[in-house]
């Protein structure tokens, strides 16, 4: 068995969609547990009142990042069949600025 499972042909496209649904359930579950369904909690970081958003995000990034690069390092996870966001610095910075402004205006 080789990883990632989907690109290695371990299951059909439709099974992949079902698995994505279950992964989404986990995603939504922990987002809600973190308080990310509350717009006031989300925007409180921008007023230096509650840094839960930063703590949750960076904990998740560190946990997933360590696991990801460990699995790549020991040769379990094939990096070439994994989607890594390509770099387009200017659009990513401009889009990020617009999204950040929208975030504090919209609340989510």
């Amino acid at each position: 068995m080789s990883f990632p499972l989907g690109p290695s042909g371990a299951f059909s496209a439709n099974t992949g969609l079902l698995l994505a649904f279950f992964i989404g359930i986990g995603f939504g579950f922990f987002l809600e547990k973190a308080g990310f369904s509350n717009a006031r909690k989300l925007t409180a970081q921008f007023y230096f009142r509650d840094f839960a958003v930063l703590k949750v995000m960076f904990t998740a990034i560190v946990v997933a990042g360590l696991g990801f690069w460990f699995l790549v390092g020991v040769g379990v996870l094939d990096l070439s069949s994994t989607y890594i966001n390509p770099t387009f610095l200017l659009p990513q910075i401009m889009g990020g600025l617009i999204l950040g402004i929208g975030f504090v205006i919209g609340g989510y």
Partner: protein
Amino acid sequence: MKESKPKPYWSPYLAGLGLGLVLLLSYVILGEGLGASGAFARFEYTVLRAIVPKHVESNPYMFEYFANGANPLADSLVFIVIGVFVGGFVSGIAAGRFKKAVDKGLRISQGGRFAFAFIGGTLMGIGARIARGCTSGQALSGGATLALGSWAFMFAVFGGGYAAAYFIRRQWL
């Protein structure tokens, strides 16, 4: 009747650990990270094509999602977002937090809050398409895989948020 108080949110580190493991699982199983905005784009282009097919078919960016007869909705991102609704709903019910509410500060009307939500949501949609992703697809997923542009995106999001926060403070404080 005694009203039960909602349970508190989890420690951010515990919730972050759970979120990180789900993100890792997504990479190990699907070979891609988590996302949200892409699913909405796919849904919108599908609806738009049903209403004004010529517009979508003449727009190379939108039509790419339909290339070679593809169905934009048959995509893992779409199913992840459907799952997010279910997972958030289950978690909210279990914690006794499920209720109808408008999250806002005390100095803004409900209508004002809705107007800002619409404006903010529109800006987020535009920003996410320019950057090819949102807080989930770029910051979280690209952050974990150490994608350079995603880190630039993340700092830009916080930069934009902190820069604009002062002007919109009446809505939240």
